[in-house]
Every structure is written in C-alpha cells, then in structure tokens.
C-alpha cells in the first residue's frame, strides 16, 4: 500500500544514513519499522498513560469537576494519611 507522508528533510537525511549503513534496504523499510515500533509502544500502554500523552499534547477533551467524586468512607480517620 502506498502511504504519502510529509516529513522534514533532516529526518529523511537521517533515514538515508541508516539505509547507507545497511540497517534498512530503503526508506520504505525504515519507515515501516518505525511504524511497527510506534504501534508496539501504544499497544502496551494503559488508558491512563494514553490519556496522559493526550493531556501533555493539549489534545484531551476537558469536562466536569473531579471534586464531585467523593467516596463514602466515613469510618476512616486521620490514620489514612499517615499510612
């Protein structure tokens, strides 16, 4: 399948260097390997880790106030904070 992507000339130069070293046969093989690594990385991450990545990238939707979440544990006292 043909996938057209726009990447910087600096990155292309680095990929070409890796190809010249013999690590990859061509740019396609290098990019395919990078995509495989990317997919492997995200297939093992938790929803919390993925949400953190979205948050840090400013791409996580914002809604609600977590202070509304209160668990009923009245019998517990100050000791909880010292545990």
């Amino acid at each position: 399948m043909l996938l057209q992507v726009r990447i910087s000339s600096a990155l292309v130069r680095r990929i070409d260097e890796l190809c010249q070293e013999g690590l990859f046969r061509n740019r396609s093989e290098a990019v395919s390997d990078a995509i495989r690594m990317l997919l492997a990385r995200y297939s093992h991450t938790s929803p919390e880790a993925r949400a953190t990545a979205l948050y840090l990238g400013g791409r996580l939707g914002r809604a609600g106030n977590p202070e509304d979440i209160v668990f009923r544990a009245e019998e517990r006292g100050a000791g909880v904070l010292e545990e």
Partner: protein, 149 residues
C-alpha cells in the same frame, strides 16, 4: 494561568475519601467549597498519591477513574516536573530541596511547585513545608479565615 492555588495530596485525600474522622475535615471541605469554580492546580505527584490512596481504600477502578477525571477536569491543571535527561541531573536538582530538610516525596512536590511561576499559594496541612518551599504555604483553615477578612 495566573495566581494559581495548588492543592496538596492531604487536602484532596480528606475530601475524596470523605475522612470525616479527620480533625481537619470541616475546614478542608469549607476551603474546597470556597475554591469551587476557580482554576486550581495539583502536581502529578499529588494526583498519583491520590490514585494510590483511593485504590487502596476504595478500589483500583475508582483510582484509575479518578486519575482520568483529573486529567479531563475543566478546573484543575496538572503540573508536571521539568523533564530530566539523566539521574545525575535529577539528583543535582532534588538535592537542593532535600537539603532544606524535606523528604524525597515533598522535595519532588516542591520542585514542581517552584518550577511553575504561576503558583502563588500551596494548600496543605503539612506544616513542614512552611518556609521550606519558595511559595506561600497555607492550611485550608488559614485560607478560609484569610478569605473572610
């Protein structure tokens, strides 16, 4: 982001775990109610602490859900520490805070707070932080009474 009030883990734990047996319960709730609707912050360390406490006393699912709720919150900003490239760099930075007599966990918190210029007040019941963090530290009770004046 300006004049941010940052909440400590003790303040949020008393609230979320509904620790009515804690002597600070009433003042803690009053301070959070007073701050309702205003932008606030908490460090990622505070949030992770909170997730651990909720997971232990309520359950894993609740801890994870709370984590996501804070990331999505409209009112809260999560403060992350500056990235460090090496352990040497981290030790170098954290040692300056440990030298003030803070434990490692409080030193991490102080590092985040002091690297965020917008933080003007840190709310916590921990008196050890007063004078050891270069940001004004108040208990929720003091905050409520100063807000009344």
């Amino acid at each position: 982001m300006s004049g941010l009030i940052t909440l400590g883990p003790d303040v949020l734990a008393i609230h979320h775990l509904s620790l009515r047996g804690d002597p600070h319960w009433r003042d803690n709730e009053e301070a959070l109610a007073k701050l309702r609707g205003t932008p606030k912050a908490l460090s990622i360390y505070t949030l992770l602490d909170l997730v651990g406490m909720v997971s232990r006393h309520v359950g894993e699912r609740s801890g994870r859900d709370l984590y996501l709720s804070y990331l999505r919150s409209e009112e809260h900003t999560i403060l992350f520490p500056p990235h460090h490239d090496s352990w040497e760099e981290h030790i170098d930075k954290v040692m300056r805070f440990l030298a003030r007599g803070l434990n490692y966990r409080d030193a991490l918190e102080a590092m985040v707070i002091e690297s965020t210029p917008e933080v003007e007040l840190y709310l916590s019941w921990k008196s050890i932080l007063v004078g050891r963090v270069a940001v004004r530290v108040q208990t929720p009770a003091d905050y409520v009474s100063s807000a009344r004046k």
